[in-house]
């Protein structure tokens, strides 16, 4: 779709808005509809849109394959790590008091934010990976 002027220009204009909206949805997950999964899909949608319009080869230098594969694991490790910190400091799994922040309000806010971002990163990376794998199926050996 590289040769369609309108699609190219609109994509380049709207991609930053999609990214910002995605971050907004992840961050505001506790106050408005949203959260890690929804925001992650939106973030991935920005990258996938770019890949659809300009081609997968253009997407490669922006988000290399290895980076998106490792981000998928890193996001969940962030979430699991949050839980394990709870175990190793003597509190419970996923207990936000283990973060060592003063006040239970602040601990919950930071804990939930970390968890949501972990989920968001993983979902973004996984969606982009799925898109890449499905799009490149013909060239894959099996």
């Amino acid at each position: 779709m590289k040769d369609r002027l309108i699609i190219r220009v609109v994509t380049k204009i709207t991609t930053p808005f999609i990214l910002v909206f995605g971050f907004y949805v992840i961050t505001h997950g506790e106050l408005s509809p949203g959260g890690g999964f929804q925001g992650g899909v939106l973030l991935a949608a920005a990258f996938i849109l770019y890949g659809l319009v300009f081609g997968l080869d253009e997407l490669e230098p922006i988000l290399p394959r290895r980076v998106s594969d490792s981000l998928a694991a890193i996001g969940v490790l962030l979430y699991a790590g949050l839980g394990l910190v709870g175990i190793f400091t003597g509190y419970r799994f996923l207990d936000y008091r283990s973060l060592g922040l003063a006040g239970s309000e602040s601990a919950e806010v930071w804990g939930m934010a970390l968890a949501e971002y972990g989920v968001g990163i993983t979902v973004t990376a996984v969606m982009i990976t799925i898109f890449r794998e499905v799009a490149q199926a013909k060239r894959r050996e099996h």
Binding site: L31, P33, F37, V126, I130, E133, V134, A137, H142
Partner: protein, 116 residues
Amino acid sequence: MVVFDLYNYWVFILLMMIGLYTVIASPNLVKKIIGLSVLQTAIFLFLISLSKVSGGTVPITGPSAELYSNPLPHALVLTAIVVSVSTMAVALAIIINIKLTYGTIEDDEIRKTEGH
């Protein structure tokens, strides 16, 4: 009438049956997966419709509302949506492999190749 008050359950059952019928009756593997998705969406509809409290507003804390709908089924459905998307992703990956191996995704043609 009582029957019309319970319309959410009727819609749920109708969608569930459409989904199950699609899974059973389509020879095309991708259409089966779409049927599965319709079935799962019907279940999500059912779960969310359980959460509505009459006179209640959306379950998001705001300044003016007094009565909220039940937020727990919303959390259940979010989790179930993630499970559903993952299932579809795995299914599509397997179907791509089937297409690369057998050259077709129609059930009857695959059966002919394998001589089932």
